[in-house]
Structure formats: C-alpha cells, structure tokens
C-alpha cells in the first residue's frame, strides 16, 4: 500500500510479533535500553517534547508537555495507558495491542522514565478479552526479561505494570473516570482541576496516554525527535493509524502521515463507497466529531489543525463514512442513543439532554414531530455544549448539532405534516 507510511505498523503482519523473541529480533526493546542506559530521564522527556507528538486518544494534547507537568521528586507516580477504546468507529488500539503488544509496553516503560512513574497500568476495555490476554502474556515476558520490575535493566528504577480490564462503560475512557474505575469506584469523571498530572490515581501524579500515543515513544527515542518531525505537518507531526469504517469497500486501519488528503484515506486506501455511491458525509474523528459533508471534508488534509479549522476534529482518528443511502436522521438517532446509553449521569445537561434528544429523535423518526421539535433539538444541543462536566455531553451535541445544521432538509422531511402528506399521497 504505497500511500501508507508505516512506523507503528512497520512489522504489523509479521507472524509471532506478539512474542518478545520476534519483537526483539526485529529490533524491539533497543529504545528502552537507550532510554535507560544512555539517557537521563530529562533527556527522554526532552526528546518526547521536542517530537511534538500529540495525543492520539482524542484531545490531541502534546504528550511530552503533559509528561512535563508531573511534579519532580521522590514519590509514587503513576502512568495509565488508556486502552478503553470504546468510541464507535475506533478500532486502531485493538490492532496495535493484539499484534504488537511489546511496542506498547516498551512505550510505557520509556514514558515512565520520562515522567518518573513507577507504577503503570493498562486500562483495557473488558470486551477486548483476547487483547487483554495477549497483553497479560506480553507483560509477563517483559517482567521475565527485566524490562519491568523493581530494577529495570539494572538501573535501579522501578517500573511495575498491571493490565486492568474495564467493565464495559464508554465513560471509563474519559481519563478521570478511568482513574476512579481503576481505584475500584464507580466510573464517573472527576472535576478538573486538579488535573491528573498533579493529583490523579490514588491522589498521586499521573500521566494518562492513549495506546497509540505511547506506541510512538520507542520510535521517537530510537530515531530521534527530528526524524519523527519529518513526518506529518508542522502542527501534526508523525503518522496516524486511522480506522476507516462505514460505507467503504475496504474498512480497516491505515497508517498514514498526518496531513495526507482525507480523500486518499477514504477513497484510495479504504476503497471508497460501494460502486455507484458517493460519500454523503463522514465523521472525521470518531462518532463524537461533528460530521463533515463529503463536499467540504474530502478535500481537507487529514490533520489536527485542518479538521479543527473546518469546525470538526481529528479526535481519535477514526473515520466513519456514510453514503447517500444513509438517512441522517437515523444516523442522528443512532448516535444519540449511544451517548444516552453511555452518559454516566453525573451532570445534568448530559444526563437529561441525551435522554431528551433521543426522545425527540425517536418521535421524529416515527413521524410524530412538529417543526418546533427540530428547533428544540437544535437548541438542546446548544444547551449541552460547554455546560457539562466532561466532554461526553458535547460528544453527542456537537455531531447532532452539525447534522441538524448541515442536513436540515432531511429532518424537515420527517415532520408530522410531511408524513401526513406522504400518507395522503399514497392513499
């Protein structure tokens, strides 16, 4: 696949890559040696910061900068790898963990050096049972090889790693809910500040990063920040594993340099919509990103900044394509139902707003809505956005709001008067 640029996926289909032997044969765990034996923690941190690597879990925050927020000094510090991957459309972390678990573990050990973390966790969604087993086995191998333990590679530094399986709630992917869940509590987001970097797991300084973010660390340490920056755009350096799904002929994960044309991802790599159909629109960054119409979105470069400029976001980097056979009203209802189902209920606008939105959309699809309902749907989204405790509420309101705005006529077509006139015509 010429258009892909494979770094994380370099050896992804190598048989046996999940075992430490194969991983090492292909050059694995050299970066850890370098980070622990040739570099000081400050240098590791500096390199990660320099690389400009942005978080791949949703918010796109600089990974190195976040690590630098952790206080220095001698105390228990934590690193949590967010492997909850529960957003509709996202399945890149699954492949990364299933096929190349040691790349992630190596990344964690390196990030632990940069952040001074001694206790690390991988919080993996419970449904990823196979991947959890694979990680468990890989972690055991890494302990056996001395990359993990009380004395990593004889440097005296302690890095312990535990794989923790979630219990099936999307909200536990939100970093602070993840921490509560990990502590054995109900997975509800916490108020920020304090930010996890200062007061996270068990009240200690905590670095939280996505699987893909951490999987980049070995490569940055091996080849250097400058090398990493030679990929992607200035504001979005590196490559991105993009999950493409929906109405495309070849759904799957594709690793591309950030900034490639979106069209290349959807049409060339994923094969575009089935023959004779065209891209009506797509979610550029998972189900929580505002939808873009085919016309406005296909021409955009696939980068954090371009998506943001277009009023959407790159998010977790998961594209869901829909063609003209998809009813946007149905899509809106499906999306709203997901967020209604997953809303933790802690804060009012999200708890009640997702519920209300679903009820209104259901009424709309049944042909029982009045024109005012569409105004109310739009207004409820406005009333959610920016008013919630975490961004789950916004994650429904933004795409639904965008759908109503960009595909208004489809909503109007479902109105009570329209269904009456349709029925009248049929009679």
């Amino acid at each position: 696949m010429a258009a892909e640029t494979r770094i994380l996926f370099r050896n992804i289909d190598e048989p046996g890559l999940a075992s430490i032997r194969t991983y090492r044969r292909l050059g694995g765990y050299e970066a850890v040696k370098k980070a622990y034996q040739e570099m000081e923690p400050e240098q590791v941190l500096h390199e990660l910061e320099e690389s400009g690597l942005r978080g791949r879990g949703g918010a796109g925050f600089s990974m190195g900068k976040k690590a630098s927020f952790l206080p220095r000094g001698d105390m228990d510090k934590y690193l949590c790898c967010n492997a909850d991957e529960s957003e509709p459309g996202a399945f890149k972390d699954r492949e990364l963990m299933q096929k190349n678990p040691h790349q992630l573990i190596e990344g964690i050990i390196i990030a632990a050096r940069a952040a001074g973390a001694n206790r690390c966790f991988i919080f993996i969604r419970g449904e990823y049972d196979l991947q959890g087993d694979i990680l468990d086995a890989a972690v055991e191998e890494a302990y056996g090889a001395g990359y993990l333990g009380t004395d990593v590679l004889g440097t005296g530094q302690q890095v312990k790693l535990v794989v923790h399986r979630g219990a099936g709630a999307y909200i536990c992917g939100e970093e602070t809910a993840l921490l509560d869940s990990l502590e054995g509590k109900r997975g509800n987001p916490r108020l920020k500040p304090p930010f996890p970097a200062v007061q996270g797991l068990y009240g200690g300084p905590t670095l939280i990063n996505n699987v893909e973010t951490l999987s980049n660390a070995p490569h940055i340490i091996s080849s250097g920040a400058e090398w990493f920056k030679s990929f992607g755009t200035e504001q979005s350096p590196g490559t991105k594993v993009v999950s493409v799904s929906g109405d495309v002929q070849r759904p799957g994960n594709y690793e591309v340099e950030l900034g490639v044309p979106t069209k290349l991802l959807i049409n060339d790599l994923a094969g575009g919509p089935p023959k004779g159909h065209k891209v009506k629109g797509f979610f550029p960054g998972g189900s929580s990103s505002p939808v873009l119409t085919g016309d406005e979105g296909m021409k955009l470069p696939y980068s954090f900044e371009a998506m943001q400029e277009a009023g959407s976001m790159l998010g977790s980097g998961s594209i869901i394509v829909f063609d003209e056979t998809t009813s946007v009203v149905d899509l809106a209802l499906r999306t709203a139902r997901f967020y209604h189902h997953e809303s933790c209920g802690k804060c009012t606008p999200c708890r009640e707003g997702t519920n209300w939105t679903v009820k209104m959309l259901e009424r709309l699809t049944r042909g029982e809505a009045t024109p005012m309902d569409i105004e109310v749907i739009a207004s409820v989204q406005e009333n959610i956005i920016g008013h919630c405790l975490c961004v789950l509420g916004d994650s429904m309101a933004m795409p639904i709001g965008a759908m109503v705005k960009k595909y208004r006529s489809e909503f109007d077509d479902k109105l009570i008067s329209q269904s009456y006139s349709a029925a009248a015509k049929a009679a």
């Binding site: 209920g345 802690k346 009640e352």
Partner: protein, 841 residues
Amino acid sequence: MSQPIRNAVTLNIDGREVTAPEGTMLVDAAKHGDIEIPVFCYEPKLGEPVGACRMCLVEIEGIPKLQTACSTPIRDGMTVYTQTDRVKGAQNAVVEFLLINHPLDCPVCDKGGECPLQDIAMGWGPGKSRFTDPKRHFQKPLPLSPLVAIDRERCILCYRCVRFSQEISEDEQLVLHERGDRSFVGTFDDRPYIAPFHGNITELCPVGALTSYTYRFRARPWDIEDAGSVCTLCPSQCNVKFTVRDERALRVLARDNEDVDDGWLCDKGRYSFQMLASEERITEPMVRAGDGTLAPVSWEEAISKVAAGLRDAGTASAVLAGGGTSNEEGWLLQRLLREGLSSPNIDSSASGARADLVRELSSPALGSRMRELDYADAILVLDTEPLNEMPILDLRIRKAVRRTGAQLLVASEHPSSLDGGAAEAVRFAPGEAAELIGALAAALGAPGYEDDGPHAEKAKAIAELLRTGPDPVIVWGERLFRTPGAVEALLACAKALGIDKRLGPGLLEVPESANGRGLREVGCLPGAGPGLAPTQTGAAASGIRDGMVNGEIKALLLSEADPVRTHPGSEAWRKALASTFVVSIAMFDDPSTAYANVVLPAESHAEKEGTVTHPDGRLQRVRPNVPRPGQIRPTCQVLTDLAATLGQTWDLPDQPAVLAAMTDDVDFYAGISDETIGGQGVRWQELASGRSWGPAVGGRTDNQGDPPPASAGSGLLLGTYRDLWASEVTERNPALRFLKRGQMLEIAPKDAETMGLENGDGVRVSVNGTSVEARVAIRTRMEAGVGFLAEGLAENNGNALVNGAGTRIEVEKTAPAAEFEAAGMGQKATVLSLEGEAAAR
C-alpha cells in the same frame, strides 16, 4: 499542621468589589457581595466540590468556557459575571433539564415551601418547559430505611446523599445504581439503609426525594416555627433546632456549628423528639404509697416529702447527677447538698474520676478544641468508641483522616469501628489501660516510666506515629479513670509530647454523660466544688452505693441518673436503692425510679433553659422550644423550692439568676452570660478569666473506683462497652425501637474454637451466680481470653456482671444458632422484620 492563615483576596463580581479569604470558592465569595449564585450539588460540609449539577455556571473574564462557581477558588483581580445573557442561558438550560424528569408534584411533596429546587426554578429558570415527552418513572415512595422514604422520581441526582454515605459517615451503603438518566440512589445490596447517621441525608437532599417517615405529611413550612437548642443525649452536644407545630416538636434539624458538630446529627438525636410528647412521660410529681405504687401528688407535697427525707438523712445524703442535667441544676444540686445538708457525697459519673487529676486535666493549655481535630497531625483514640459514646466525634475523626491525612491511632479494649482507617490499632485486655499507657509514656520518654513489658512494641509504634507532626490530639474515654494509674500515665504522655506547652494540640475527653464536663466544673465531683476548687472529699458513685448498702448513706437524690442501668454492678445498685430513701428526677420510669420514694418529672432538652459544657469547654445554651407537658416545673425552680423548704434562702428566682450566681462561683466561668454564649457557644478557656486559670494543687482524693475482685476465676476476662442504641432513648421513641438490640457475647475466634461456640449460638454468661443471656458474636480484631458484653441494655445488661476490674465469666451454651434461625430470630429474620416494619408505615 496548624490552622492555615488565609489572606484576603479582592475580586470583582457583577461590577462590585468583593473581598473574601483566599481559597474561598466563588459561590461563597459572591455572598460577601450580596450576590447569590444558585447551587444544588455544592455542599462544603461534604468536602471537595464535585461540579455535578452545573447550576452554578458563571462567566469569568479570560476563560472562554463558563465555569462552575462552586469549584473555582477566587483569585485577586478576577472579574466575574453572574447575570449576563450567556450565564442566564446556561442557568435556564440547567433548570429546564432538571425539570424534564421531575414529577413536579409539589402540592403533595413534603419539601414544598422549603425546597431549593422550587426556589431555584422560580428564580433562575426559564419559567416554562419545552419538554413534551413522557417522564421517567419509578415506584414511589419506597422505604430506603425504616426511617427514610425515597422518591426516586423527585431525585435530581445531585449525589449529596451518596457522598455523605461514602465520604462522611463512611458506612458506604448508599450508591448510585445504573447510569445516565436511569441512575437511581439505593443501598448497594438493596437492603435497608441502616447506619447511625443516615438521617442526615434527609437534610442534605435539595428536593423531596428523601423524607423522614416521622415527618411526612405532618406540616408545611408556614405551619411551623423553628427554635434552637442543644441535644443533650450525649456529650457531642450537637446544636439542633426543633420544628414545632402547635406546641409539639415534629422534627429535629441540625443547626450547623463547626466548633461542635460540623452540621451533622446522629439518628439518636434526630429521631428522639417523639419521646418528648410520649404518653409514657412522667409529667407530675409522684410519691410511693404504702402499697408500693407511685401516686401523683401536688408539688408542695412532693417537695415536703423530699425535704423530710433529706433532712432525716442530713450529712448522710448523696446526689448522683447525670444525663442532661444542666450546669445550673448541677450547681444548685451541689449547693443543696453541701450547704443545705453539709454532705460532700456528690458524683456525676461511674468512673471514679479523681478531683486532683480532673483539675490538672482541665488546664486550658492541655485541652484541645473540637476544631483542632481538623488540623491534627495525629489523633490517638484511647479507650473510647466515639461512635457509641460521642457519635459526632466519630465523623470528625474520619474527616481529619480523609481530608487532612491525619494519622489515626487506636488503642482500646474493645474493637473499634475506627480500626479500619487507623495507621495503628492496638488492643489491650480489660484493666490493662495503665500498663499500655505507661508503656506509651515510656516510649515517649516520660520521666519515671520504663517499660519492657508486653506492651512495649505496640507502644513504640504508637509513640512514633504520634510524633508524625507537632500537633497531635489525644481523644480519651472517661472510663480510663476506672483503672488506677491510667490517667496519670496519660498526663505523663501529654507532657512528654509537649502538648501542655502549646495552644492547639491537646487532650479531648469523652465523658460518660452528656454534660459530664459541665457537671464536674460546677462542683458535682467528690472533692471538688464549683470551679473544681478543693473541698471536703466525699463518696464517689461506687462509694455512695456501698454506703447505701451498709447504712452510712441514708438518702440519694438522682438527677436524670439511672445507676441500675448505666453503672457497673446493677444488682448492688438495686440493693442499695431498695435500702434507702431515694428521690429521682426522671423523664420516664426506669430501673432506678422503680426504687424511688419520690419521683419528680424532669424537663427534656427541648423544654429546659440552661447551659451545658461541651467536652472541649464550650458553654452552650439549652433553650425551651416547646412547653413543658403536664405539671412539669423547671428543675432549677424545684431545687430552689426544695432548698427553701430545707431552710436555705437562695434568692434565685429563675435560670438567669442561677446562671449569674453560678458564673460568679465557678471562677473560670466568670463573665459568661447568655450574651457571651450566644448561638454558637463560647469556650471558657478562650475568655480572659478562663485563660489565666491555673488549677490549684492539692486536695488529692483517692481513686474510689471499684476494687479488684477477690476471686479470680478461670473463665474469660469480662470487658464491657457502651453501645449507641443501648439506652432508654431507643425504647422511648417508636421510630428508633427497631434498633433495640439484644446482648451479644463478643469473643475472639480462638476462644470460640476452644469453647466450641459459633456465631449466633445462645449462651448464658455468669459471674458468681448472676447471669445474662446473650448470643455469640465472633470478632476477629479482639484479643483472645476476653469476652465483651454491652452495658446499658434494658435486659441482660452487661453491667449486671461487672464487679470491678478483672471479673471473669463462665460461659455456658444454651442453644445452637440454628435453633434461633428456626425460630425466626436469625440474621435474615432481623432484616426482614425491618423491611416489614418500614413497609407497614
């Protein structure tokens, strides 16, 4: 850690300059500028804000998103807007969201008229709803507990009740089930929420989702009056207000006082208003007739009977004061006895507290304020179970551990509910307090103490943690006085820690009775007169009892005291009371009034006017909230009349006059008046007269605690403890009756094994032919070789067996646990009957 100093910060809210201490949250700071920001989930009593309801969103200059004012600490120069269109839009949105699933059944909701949701919806809501779909439904109301009903449709999911259960009382029973708009509050296992502080959630709930069965449909806010008083059911002396309708108390609410109770009440205090208007109450004076029954008489006749009995006894009279006896009453009692009858025999507890030690312990520098617990580096809980003996203190200690990371240390005979949160929890055998504390004194380097005994290791561990920081607080139980040498060792520890040198850290005693400290300070202690001044030594409680039996003491006046129930040696007390002239001032018939020749009705804490003294030295006012039922007269007046009949003219026409005379007499109370006490109370140590008070030396009395028993059997060593619900209050308030408990013999697993006993087995526990029936409870955090019984139960009272330290018990199995199960008296049956009781309401 000492109390932090907070600088003033100035900011601008809605164009007004507002100044407040740094660290203040915006909502609170706004109040300084007379600006109200609506809140639902914010409740500082519950700890850190959670930002759940989103009602308090405001605009802050320089921050693009609206911010929650409840969780944003103020900064110098901050500019805040609470009235802009954007803010109003957000407020309207949140109110509209909150109401879409709210039943709006205000006309039949108990909260109506005092409901924050009503108020905020009116003040900050859009005025109408655009919601036309069906609302969420739940079955309602359901019993959350036998005392609290839950209406889940009304719940706005503010999390307050759950936070209370999880983070304040730490009973961890309440949780939110499900998620999103399907979330609902319940206990984690769906069994009744039974926990000693759970009534607080009805006050925390900002809507009518949690209501008390005892108050449902009883009154509307416009029918009622609120008045403040102090709960005198235990030494916590929580500040309360009674909701009064048609001269009857219908509810007890907290009257927040951070220096006392942090705004919480225990369920005992909250639900015990029912007994005030109980049919069973003694409401007129009574005299025992020849046939042994009590017959009502006029006050004049009763007083002349009492006067005659006391006059006959003369110097052989004695007084025992307890319960909610106020300072004024205590002072009059000791005056009546000492001046009117020239008798020195007065006591106010069963501990045998020694006047010289009490005096030393009362030194202002040694004592700790309640609030000091919030800043303590380490807290040692020494042979007391706050949950049972001073419940609110339990919450305060938990708060210190949870919020400020205080190191908690527990050293006690009986397993403690605080063990779980303690950095170190040690047990010692009943009667070994002096050894353990002596070992601690040695470990702290106190002169004259040396130890290499069995407690040395434990003591070292505690000593080390006590030195975690400069500010330790030692909470200790009055029962330490029962063990000779224990309190001396405690004083040595305090000195070794240097806490007698600095304000702040110190000792906090948990007295045996609600006004234990006050009663001693006004002179209800053998060997100490008003102001703890050395005076002629008299008999302590156990001495009075023995004197009654051997004829040295001929008359006893009980003021809200029931020694048969609450003092060790119930049988001996019965014998003593039966052989002398007894007067009892009591609210109800109790095991001691059964022997009284004259019974005088006592005022309750909702009727009395007077002062009490908190264990930390804070004088507080008990105020009349409801009229005295029947013929009841103020006890102060009764005592004055009695004195007059005995030839003493006091010229003390009313309580204010008594207070004035008393504060004249107790030198460290000088200058204290109703005004200085005010609504929040005042610590005498913080007034000029108190600060300079130094205890006089001398006047040492001998410890008059019970002597060790002659016979040392071979059985388990008997230990006893007080239980929160083992009291008359539980029985006299119908709402609390379900909490009445039976006797349990608590033993260590090892002993259970050797004795062939299992949990729930029925046993007979005996000492020298006296026995009580109990069920076996095996406890893991207990020392082997000891058996514990609860004191103060109406039946099978552990006190019946106590005969000084070192009592040993014989245990005989009477029925296996299975038999109780079969008879419906097992664990499961208890829970079911609770559910039945609640459902029947």
